[in-house]
Each structure stands twice: as C-alpha cells, then as structure tokens.
C-alpha cells in the first residue's frame, strides 16, 4: 500500500467537506473488505482515505410497515442477515447478505459498500432490485433519492455524483410478498456468484432480478410483463424461460461459460414461477 492520510470524520457534513476538499484524491472507506484489497494491489492509490464508520447512526437498521426497511450505510452483512425484521419480512435479503464472503468478512463488509462497488454479481443487488429499493445519498447539492434501477450504470459505475455519500438504502415493505434468493457458485461458501438472482411474487405480479448475467444487476422487465396477472401454467413457464434468456447478456469467464449462465437463468425463472405460484 502507498502511504495515505487516514481521516475519521465524526459527522456527515464533515465527511462531505473532506470529499469536496480532496475530490479525486480521496476514497470513501466503509467496511474495507474491498478497499483494503484494492489499496494493497495498488488498483487505487488515494492520498486520503475517509472512514465513515465513526459517524453516529450510520449503522442503524430500522423497520416499520409505513417506511419499510432502512439500512444504514455502515450496517454490516452479518448485522443485516441476523436482523429480526430483515429475517421476518425480507428473508431473501437476509439470505443474500449471509451468502457474501465468510463470517469474518461479513463482520466488516456492508450492504451499501456492496451496492456502491456496482459489481455485476453484487449479491445484495438482486433482492434490493426486486424490491425497488431507493438509495439515499447526500452531497454538495443536498439530499437525493435514487431508485436502484437508475443506480447501476455499468461495471463498477454508479449514478453517484462526485462528492456524494450514500447514507442509507430504503427497501419498501410489500405486504404478502414472497421471494426466493438463489446463488449459484463453484463452492457453497466463500465464493463469488456465478449467477445470483431474486424472484419475488407480489400479488399476481412476479419480479425477476439477476446478477452476473450482464454488466450490472438487472430486472427482466419483458419477462415480468409476460407473466403479470397470469397463472403460470406449463406453456407460460416455457415462454417465460425463453424470454428471460433473451433479456440477459452473460459472458464466459473463469467461473462459467455464457451457455451455462443462460441455462441457469432459465432454470431460476422456471423454479421461481413453480415455487411461488399458488
């Protein structure tokens, strides 16, 4: 690691000021499980590392039916995965959070960090996409709410503006919704997703969110449109599987081939419809 200055702001305005002052020479530091590795490998070489974990309240997780779930920027994966309200109302999100890395990593890694990294295979991306979560950001121009569908732009690119800090993510409460999170990986624990997905049923609507099959996590809007309001019989499921395959654009890499990923997409859509249709 190159030498840098470590800054530990105690308030959000202080942190925003540091980003405004040091601009591109500053890097935000949260759980550190990604940033420390990138610092070590010299993929980044900032002059300032701004640790936001000392800002009170940023690790809060709160829930009520009116506002849904609010996850603070510094809430760790284990804190989310073991949170009572998350386990009760968003079990698929709990499962996604607990599928990241190892227990040790999850004691440091955060959901917001996962989202802000904008990896195509961000494990907590698909449950949040399926729920139409909203990212709360503060910046030089004040506070902004960004629908998660507008947040991911490309591999490691988000719609955050320079100097903005994500303070929390809000996940709407959808009464009666049922979801399934699936992670296909080479080994059961401590691996990156080959494909990850959340299938969510809200009333007579199905939502399909996939990771690692395109440059960003994405919703399969055409497939959702096809099955909306219909009873998924065998013929409709076949159509949905075919349409879903046409909506993704996976690549072949060290984890799997493009063809394998395509097959998994079809399988997850099929199983999701079969499991959740009642």
């Amino acid at each position: 690691m190159k030498q840098f200055n470590y800054l530990a702001p105690k308030t959000l305005p202080e942190a925003l000021q540091m980003l405004a002052d040091y601009k591109e020479s500053a890097v935000l530091f949260n759980g550190g499980t990604d940033v420390v590795v990138r610092l070590r490998d010299r993929l980044i070489a900032p002059d300032y590392v701004v640790d936001i974990k000392h800002i009170p309240g940023l690790d809060d997780i709160s829930f009520d039916e009116q506002n849904g779930l609010t996850i603070g920027a510094c809430a760790t994966m284990n804190a989310i995965g073991e949170n009572e309200a998350v386990c009760k109302h968003y079990p698929f999100l709990a499962k996604a959070a607990l599928s990241v890395g190892s227990r040790q990593v999850r004691n440091r890694a955060t959901c917001i960090g996962n989202i802000c990294n904008a990896s195509p295979l961000a494990d907590t991306g698909t449950p949040l996409l399926a729920c139409d979560a909203v990212i709360l950001a503060e910046g030089p121009d004040g506070r902004r709410e960004i629908p998660i569908r507008d947040f991911f732009i490309f591999v490691r690119k988000t719609s955050l503006k320079p100097g903005e800090i994500v303070t929390a993510i809000r996940v709407p409460y959808i009464a009666g919704a049922e979801g399934v999170f699936t992670k296909v990986a080479r080994r059961r624990e401590v691996d990156l997703s080959t494909v990850c997905a959340t299938v969510l049923r809200c009333g007579d609507e199905f939502r399909f969110a996939f990771g690692s099959v395109a440059p960003t996590p994405l919703r399969l809007v055409k497939t959702e449109e096809l099955v909306r309001g219909k009873k998924p019989d065998a013929a409709l499921i076949e159509q949905a599987v075919e349409l879903a395959r046409s909506e993704v654009a996976p690549i072949s890499d060290v984890r799997a081939s493009k063809e394998y990923r395509m097959d998994i997409v079809g399988l997850i859509v099929r199983r999701g419809l079969e499991t959740l249709a009642k």
Binding site: M1, K2, Q3, F4, N5, Y6, A8, F29, G32, T33, V36, V37, L39, R40, V49, D51, K53, N78, G101, S102, R103, Q104, V105, N107, R108, R188, E189, V190
Partner: protein
C-alpha cells in the same frame, strides 16, 4: 504521518503510533511480536489472520491500523490463561490432532472461539459452516470439526464448566 492509537490486545492496554497504510495484521506481527495470526492470502479469503475484534471474528489483513483506536483485540496468544493453561479448544485441537503444519491453526482457533461464544452447542453442520472462512490444506477439516464438536459437548461456550 503517524496515527496515535490506544487499544487493548489480550486485555493489555497498548499505545502505538502507526502508519495508515499498515494493517492490524502488520501491527500484531511487526510491532507487537504477536506472530500467531498469519498472512495467507492477504485478501480476506483464507482466514489465517483471524482475530477477534470487539467481540467479532475479523480478518486482521483487512483492518487498517488507525482503525484500532479504542478497539479490543483477542489473538491466539490470549486464549491460554495467565498461568499458561491452554483453553479447552486448544487442548481439543491437540487431543484430536486437528493440525498438521499448523499455519492455519491460530485462525481456526479464533474462529471457533468466537463461534462457541455465539452458539455454545452448534450442530456438525453449523460448525462446518462456521469455519468455512478458514482454509486448511492439510487436515481435510474432519479432525478440526471433531475437536470443536468435543468442546461444544463438554463446555459451555468453550469455557470449562
């Protein structure tokens, strides 16, 4: 620039001036001569550097040194009591021969210590999942799991009854 950090290692207060670009693992091994925690991958994959920070197991290679201010750290050197008696887990690792080369052992001991504190009587499956963040290239894990099972059965959270 050096950063002043005051923290506790194995319940002893420590005051140090650290560089920002050092990790907790560097501080333990190079400043404090506590070489139990090992660097395997340096990227949070292998668990050989696992220590307990503020009650939770973490990868020491992923914590920056200035973050230590105010922290409580337990390393493998802190598991034995003041008279030098090994902890029940350490004894069980010896009894079950749950180590071969020993490189990964301090990490496993710290992860298992934390696991039994949170879940004093885990099932075999819970133990296997619990240690999934630690790699061992020698034992095949079976004896490690058996050692932890033994302690889970005969102690309350890894503490002698």
């Amino acid at each position: 620039m050096k950063y002043q950090v005051n923290f506790f290692v194995n319940e002893e207060p420590v005051e140090l001036y650290v560089d920002a670009n050092k990790t907790l693992l560097n501080v333990l091994r190079e400043e404090l001569d506590l070489t139990g925690a090992k660097e395997g991958c340096g990227a949070g994959e292998c668990g050989a550097c696992t220590v307990i920070m503020n009650g939770k197991p973490v990868n020491a290679c992923l914590v920056l040194a200035p973050e230590l201010d105010g922290a409580h750290i337990t390393t493998v050197e802190g598991l034995a009591d003041r008279e030098g008696n090994l902890s029940p887990l350490q004894e069980a690792f010896v009894k079950h021969a749950a180590l071969q080369c020993g490189f990964c052992t301090p990490g496993f001991l710290m992860t298992a210590t934390a696991l039994l504190r949170e879940n004093p009587h885990p099932t075999r499956e819970e133990i296997a999942r619990g240690i999934s963040g630690n790699l061992c290239r020698c034992t095949g894990y079976k004896k490690i799991i058996e050692a932890i099972e033994d302690v889970a059965e005969h102690t309350e959270g890894g503490v002698r009854k």
